[in-house]
Symmetry: C2
Subunit: 207 residues, 2 copies
Amino acid sequence: MTTSPVDVPTTDSPARARILDVAASLFLEQGYEAASLRRIADEVGIQAASIYHHFTSKEDLLEAILRRGMAVMDEAFTAAEATTTGAGESQADRRSRLAAHVRAHLAALYENGPFTAAHVTTFRTAPAVVRDAIVPVRDAYEARWTDLLNDLTAADVPTGPARLMLLGGMNASVEWFDPTRGSLDDLAEVVTRQFWSGLTGHPDPTP
Amino acid sequence: MTTSPVDVPTTDSPARARILDVAASLFLEQGYEAASLRRIADEVGIQAASIYHHFTSKEDLLEAILRRGMAVMDEAFTAAEATTTGAGESQADRRSRLAAHVRAHLAALYENGPFTAAHVTTFRTAPAVVRDAIVPVRDAYEARWTDLLNDLTAADVPTGPARLMLLGGMNASVEWFDPTRGSLDDLAEVVTRQFWSGLTGHPDPTP
DNA sequence: TTTCTTGTCTAACGAACGTTAGGTAGGGTG
DNA sequence: CACCCTACCTAACGTTCGTTAGACAAGAAA
């Protein structure tokens, strides 16, 4: 067990890990094209050419970052499931399960380095080769949310658009939420409250 | 009156307008850095150097597009206000006002060329000079939403995070919503329903 | 001690980039 | 007619890009 909120297997060499870290935060800040290998290398303290000892291309580097971002989200989801095993069928229990997963997704976004946030902001304009490679992983994560929401709501409630709005809204928070200034728990609570009643069509139990 | 849903003053010459159109859709597709002036010029059918007859730099071109995107949103908001003048204080009336503005924002996103969508996706990684120039315009638009939501809800309801989730969720829809396949009205209704009860804390009146 | 591996370096390649200078065709205006 | 302005062009500039080739130092393995 490490001290990090979500356990990501880090078989990377220190150098490789450092490149990943720096690249992810630069991709997040400036976008994939604008962040050049020379700038990344500069910040790591090596030469641009040395990056090629760890990655076969810039696209390969991006793909590794996107995968890592998805891995963080996926493990956060799994961890949230673990904390809510044994939850019952009451509305309050259902709401808690949603809250746990919302909190987990937001934590993945803000508490595990720039990987998840970089994924969210970079995926859209990533080179087609990279995007195509990542799509299945993304779909799998979305499917877990689909199952969760279907499980939480009545059978006749269409959860599709609600899921997209929920994930879209949470991901969009990277553009304005500053985890060093605001509380992640507060944000998670706001998001949960906002979506719980809209999802179920019933008033939120916690005012 | 033109046939376009929102009237944007188009004092542009045809050539300039065409450059703006093409550039906006390429910026939207690939991002600001990845969309080169040569590719833009190619698609317009001119040489890259000819763009400099209409814009002083690539950044200038981006700024024009971002401004146009904001103008489209702003006029959509104004138009929505016009259609709801005389709305009363009943919950149903309030909900209609929210619905009208949601619909207007989404229409701006999808029915007026790529300008608004390009703004949403490009702003974050735009060069600092451009971003700084646009920020005041953006803030003004957000302020209109703040006023609206404050007007729609009880005095003690904090609308800040809800507004950010609402706009963030709507804007994020550009990543998955295809206006040629789905109905904009349906999307607007889903968004409105999703947020209305969360905002007011009361069940949604339309099941 | 020799050998191999790992991680970095310097140097350079060709391609693409934003941008500038200067020229040209054509329509409107004196 | 001469003039000029608009909208484009060709050609080129210096810079930066991703990427490759090849050398070198340090440590582990033999």
